[in-house]
């Protein structure tokens, strides 16, 4: 942003770099590692905090899965660890719903929004477009520290005597608005709302920074259509966030008013405990419209960065250009635009006007087209490649598999007629966990394995990565594939136990299998954490360009310098996917900063 007024940005950047160099040695530990303004450090901070959250969120799912697997057993040893949530060795229903709510909130917002975008937008945008740092390093740091503050508030709410928020991660009022309706709707809900408003501040500050950096700070020669697909994806992700998150703020603020000031935005004609409450004229459905106006674009905020990274990683490791570079960009654009006009497909059975519903069916199923284009393009990228099957490419392939499996069930649920039967059953749980939960995690893992050498100058351990992959990939299918059958048998989600209904209790064995798989998958993630921490300190030293990739981040000194490049910024001469371009050459990649040869100049086309 600060460079928008500068007519020749490169001149200014040079002086900035010199300025930074002069002060390099006076940095204290605090300014270098804690309140750092360097985008690489901030990216790592997002990653560390996100990993901590992922472990917490995963552990919560293990606890409530144990309840679903063995609803009649008691677990005194669990009670010793989580005393507040258990009575006589059994998880309380209130605690169960708090855990489900917090698991969803943590995974969707804190891990797959803040940490996924925060880590990779921070590390990759400046390095891949050839910038010294973000447009505003200070705003970038503020973005992380707001996320940290939101994390502190959300984490504290777990320890409240009345429990954390328990109305589901979608916090539909009136349940979330009335403390009489549920203990978690007291202080827990208040803290949830405060944490989320702070969190949205973080997302906005970060997103504005990413967009202005991409638009203003590209190095010489880096036209928009020479940007790697990661940058395109992160760019559109930030735009979606900027346009949709403010709606969640208004959504939350109105709920805060209803809870604290006695307004009736979402509440009307309520009788609770035999007593009529003085609310009139509000609409609980209004909340759902506002919530899902963010909530649906949110799933694209989660999945687009993963898509971008997978596109890049598949191209690098199959030693082939990504197939249909422009089609990939326009399909992201298509998903972005359509993603804003499909929100009410979460509300088909709220009693909405059937005609309005039909419009949302149309747009929702249309999203399958750009999604299909992306899948076919990834497959064609692998076709006749020379695929280096290593941890990053394995997780990228795993992402494509998950995205296909979960995306196809979206065609079921997007069709309102089918949704009348399957809405809020385990079929939905299977669908969204596979397509945006597991798939986004696979994209994130692929990204971490791929860019770890860029972040820490060392390689991660391959053997542990393969164990991690096998456990996660097989385990994720074991957990979520059978949930389709539960859903088709009518089993509703968000049930504390299925034993009260004869119709829903037939899958006792299957639920045990799912729980065991969930525990194993959780332990498998700890292998990843061990590998990650171990490799930071003891991993094999990385060479400058370990994957032989074309993008600019691999030309920046591996030890990580302030300002990213010593001396001049690199100049870009070609698109990022010149892999195996010249069949007669021994080298199968040509980095973006390599000038065109005389021969190439004659017929070089940008794809």
């Amino acid at each position: 942003m600060q460079t928008t007024t500068v007519t020749e940005p490169h001149v200014k950047e040079h002086s900035q770099a010199a300025h930074a160099d002069a002060h390099h040695h006076t940095e204290t530990f605090i300014s270098k590692y804690i309140f750092s303004l360097d985008h690489k450090t901030i990216g790592k901070q997002f990653l560390f905090l996100g990993m901590a959250w992922a472990v917490i969120g995963g552990l919560m799912s293990v606890v409530f899965r144990i309840q679903l697997g063995w609803p009649d057993e008691t677990f005194p040893w669990l009670e010793k660890i989580f005393a507040a949530w258990f009575t006589d060795g059994k998880l309380n229903p209130e605690a169960y719903y708090s855990l489900v709510t917090m698991h969803g909130t943590i995974m969707v917002f804190f891990v797959l929004t803040a940490s996924l975008s925060g880590t990779f937008a921070n590390i990759l945008i400046p390095l891949q477009i050839g910038a010294r740092d973000m447009a505003s390093p200070l705003m970038n740091a503020i973005s992380f520290w707001l996320f940290f503050l939101a994390s502190v508030v959300m984490f504290s709410s777990i320890f409240l005597p009345t429990g954390a928020a328990s109305a589901g991660w979608t916090i539909y009022p009136p349940l979330s608005a009335l403390p009489q309706a549920s203990p978690g709707s007291g202080m827990g809900m208040t803290m949830w709302l405060i944490a989320m408003v702070i969190f949205i501040g973080s997302t906005l500050v970060g997103g504005l920074n990413y967009v202005s950096t991409v638009l203003n700070l590209r190095t010489r020669g880096m036209s928009m259509f020479r940007m790697p697909l990661t940058v395109w994806a992160l760019f559109f992700t930030a735009i979606i966030g900027i346009l949709s998150f403010p709606v969640l703020v208004s959504c939350c603020v109105l709920l805060i008013f209803d809870r604290g000031l006695g307004t009736s935005f979402y509440l009307s004609n309520i009788v609770i405990g035999g007593k009529a409450l003085p609310f009139a004229g509000g609409s609980p459905i209004l909340f759902q419209h506002l919530f899902w106006f963010l909530g649906h674009p949110e799933v694209y905020i989660v999945i687009l960065p993963a898509m971008g990274m997978v596109s890049e990683i598949l191209a690098v490791h199959s030693r082939k250009p990504i197939f249909g570079y422009k089609a990939m960009i326009f399909s992201i654009l298509g998903i972005t635009v359509l993603g804003f006009i499909v929100w009410a497909h979460h509300m088909y059975v709220t009693g909405m006007n059937p005609f309005i519903g039909s419009i949302f069916v149309l747009f929702t199923l249309l999203i399958a087209i750009p999604s299909a284009v992306k899948v076919f393009n990834w497959l064609t990228t692998l076709w006749r490649g020379n695929i280096r099957v290593n941890p990053p490419s394995m997780f990228a392939v795993g992402f494509v598999s998950m995205f296909i499996s979960g995306g196809l069930t979206g065609i079921w649920l997007g069709n309102a007629t089918i949704d009348i039967q399957l809405h809020d059953t385990y079929f939905v749980v299977a669908h969204f966990h596979i397509v945006m939960g597991i798939a986004a995690f696979f994209g994130m893992f692929a990204g971490i394995y791929h860019w770890f050498p860029r972040m820490f100058g060392r390689m991660m351990n391959d053997t542990m990565a393969y164990i991690h992959f096998a456990i996660t990939f097989i385990g994720a299918y074991l957990i979520f594939w059978p949930m389709h059958f539960l859903g088709l048998a009518g089993v509703p989600r968000r049930y504390y136990t299925f034993n009260e209904f004869a119709a829903f209790s037939q899958y006792a064995t299957l639920n045990k299998v799912i729980t065991i798989a969930a525990i194993v998958v959780f332990l498998g993630q700890l292998i990843f954490v061990v590998n990650f921490i171990y490799s930071i300190f003891k991993g094999r030293k990385s060479v400058q360009n370990p994957w032989e990739a074309n993008t600019l981040e691999w030309t920046s000194p591996i030890e990580g310098v302030h300002g990213n490049w010593n001396g001049d910024l690199p100049e870009v001469h070609r698109w990022p996917y010149d892999y195996s371009r010249n069949p007669n050459s021994d080298v199968d990649f040509i980095p973006q900063n390599v000038p065109l040869t005389e021969e190439e100049k004659k017929d070089y086309v940008h794809h």
């Binding site: 009335l178 009529a276 199923l365 695929i387 069709n415 039967q421 049930y495 061990v530």
Partner: protein, 347 residues
């Protein structure tokens, strides 16, 4: 103590994995150098075997679990939904198998081999148009079929429908039938009190023959019109065997009509369970008792339904009239009841 031992075992397990992995990576680096080119072939087999294993698992389980899913739909509307699910299942299953198989086949077929060159293939307009247009055509059909059924399900309620009202509250359902006049008496939430849980307006005389039922009894092959509501938070009127659901929203009445086509007795024969019963469940998180908010549903012949209906007593005649005559024998209307509630509310 046992917790500490368990944790120690876990830590030891991770240390073992770490040590083995360190050694394994070291050996590979010594054998193959930094690039580890030779291991790509083994990795490709590893990944493809897992991939095809999962593909087989996902297909096989579809067949093994097919019998455990819902039996035939108990409503006409559910049969339309089932028809659309069947078509969608066939189409998506084909795409699923083909794309997953290609994915893991390519990983194996085109894994890294020394000296081989990848094929520089950056774009192809014909291919890209093909896989934009073909999904678009298929989806157009799915949208068309889907919307046709959708509008059929939400078509105007037939005039001869039997009207019932289902009201959700934490954590139970209240079922109200119209009685002989085929009309439900109006409700007002400010009239709620201990004797009048739903706030029924007794001044509205159509309410006088309304009766409450402790199970939902429905005549087969007759359209049923359901007025759905909620007192406190959002609930969801969910009839799994009829394949139907509709939210129950406080302040905003919702509505659904359907035609049951299989009686409880017939369904007991179909599922070979003499104790089988249809059930109404809640399918929108409504608090800590959400998982146990049920009501029995019984589909019977018209004759049985008529007989059952005649046996029911109106709430007004059994409870309200008695209460009013007890408290103030002089007054015949129920205004004091209502005004006392309003006064209580204003406190």
């Amino acid at each position: 103590m046992s917790i500490i031992l368990g944790l120690l075992t876990l830590v030891l397990l991770f240390i073992v994995i770490l040590q083995i992995s360190k050694a394994s990576d070291l050996i590979k680096t010594l054998r193959f150098g930094d690039r580890q080119e030779e291991s790509f072939g083994n990795n490709a087999i590893f990944l493809s075997v897992i991939g095809f294993g999962i593909l087989i698992f996902s297909i096989v389980t579809c067949f093994t679990y097919a019998d455990t899913l819902l039996p035939r739909s108990a409503s006409e509307q559910g049969e339309w939904i089932q028809w659309l699910i069947d078509i969608t299942l066939v189409l998506t299953a084909i795409v699923f198998v083909v794309t997953q198989a290609l994915l893991f086949w390519f990983v194996y077929k085109y894994h890294y081999r020394k000296g081989r060159k990848a094929y520089f293939f950056a774009d192809n307009n014909k291919l890209e148009v093909a896989w934009t247009v073909v999904p678009a055509i298929v989806l157009t059909f799915l949208i068309g079929f889907g919307l046709q059924k959708w509008f059929k399900i939400f078509s105007p309620t037939p005039k001869d429908a039997i009207v019932i009202e289902v009201i959700g509250k934490q954590f139970a359902w209240t079922i109200r039938y119209t009685g002989q006049d085929k009309k439900l008496g109006s409700r007002d939430f400010t009239l709620v009190n201990g004797d009048n849980e739903l706030g029924i307006n007794w001044k509205d005389t159509t309410s006088h023959d309304d009766f409450f039922a402790d199970e939902i009894v429905l005549p087969v092959n007759t359209p049923i019109s359901v007025n759905i509501g909620a007192l406190d938070v959002i609930h969801d009127f969910y009839l799994p065997h009829f394949r139907l659901m509709m939210d129950a929203v406080p302040g905003i009445p919702t509505h659904l009509w359907f035609r049951p086509i299989v009686t409880t007795e017939e369904m007991r024969k179909i599922v070979k369970d003499p104790k089988f019963d249809y059930v109404l469940a809640c399918n929108k998180l409504c608090g800590s008792g959400h998982y146990n908010m049920q009501k029995k549903v019984r589909v019977v012949s018209m004759a049985e339904y008529k007989k059952w209906e005649r046996e029911q007593k109106s709430y007004y005649s059994t409870v309200v009239q008695t209460a009013v005559s007890d408290s103030s024998a002089k007054k015949s209307d129920v205004a004091p009841l209502a005004s006392s509630t309003v006064a209580e509310m204003n406190k």
